[in-house]
Amino acid sequence: MCSGIFVLMLFASFVLAYPTSWRARAVGLGVGIPALFAVNVVRIGTLARIVEIYPGAFVYFHEYVWQGVFMVVVLVGAIAWAEHSE
């Protein structure tokens, strides 16, 4: 769960369910999943750095800050894709 795979699944579900062409869906998945993967790498990198320099803040950033930030990145990305998918 903490790998971020569920967030990618949520994004992919939205793209596949959205009523548009298969070409637009392929573009959405082809661009969106690597982009979210990159954001996730940043998330894991910052969490690793936090553990190193300020371990007491790890839970806060892991369970609180990044959960909300990652979620809104996915939502805004999905909406931006939908807006330009036609």
């Binding site: 569920f6 806060y60 609180y64 909300g68 909406i79 998918s85």
Partner: protein, 175 residues
Amino acid sequence: MSKLRFLATFLLFFAILLALWNRTPAAEWYTGALLYAAAALGPALHGWILEPGAAGGFPVWVRDPARVDLKIHFDALAVGLVPLLALVAATPGLAPLRHLRTAALAAVLFFAVDVAIIVLFPLLVHYNNAATDIGGTFLGMIGFVGAPAIIWFVLTFPQIRPWLPSLRRPAALRN
């Protein structure tokens, strides 16, 4: 409203709510209410009884002779409420009263999802097979990740529909 402004508004509300969440006993209250509701519903729905765990331990679902520790990170489960309320607060096109009503309904729906996860927990863990594995993973995805986004999307669909070209109403249907 642009998506950038929506994002900025969301982050502002998210930061404020997160600070409130951490500086008040809101998480403990929420978890307490979850366990209370699950303990009331569980015996009626499937016969398992929720008992408090040992000091500092997890609560336990019991149906003699079976026992299932309720090994859930309650903080992680509960904190989904914060981005959900921030999403509602950042949604454009809602009057103040409508914002409050939508936020209240969102919180109730999110609570119901969390109660469902806790109530179903002993069935998914004790009767372990491929179906319960998949069901449990799906519920985990919904509870820990998907619920805030899905509930927000459903409750504010009329407001965010203009952002989704394929879902806009045809001009003839608009008033």
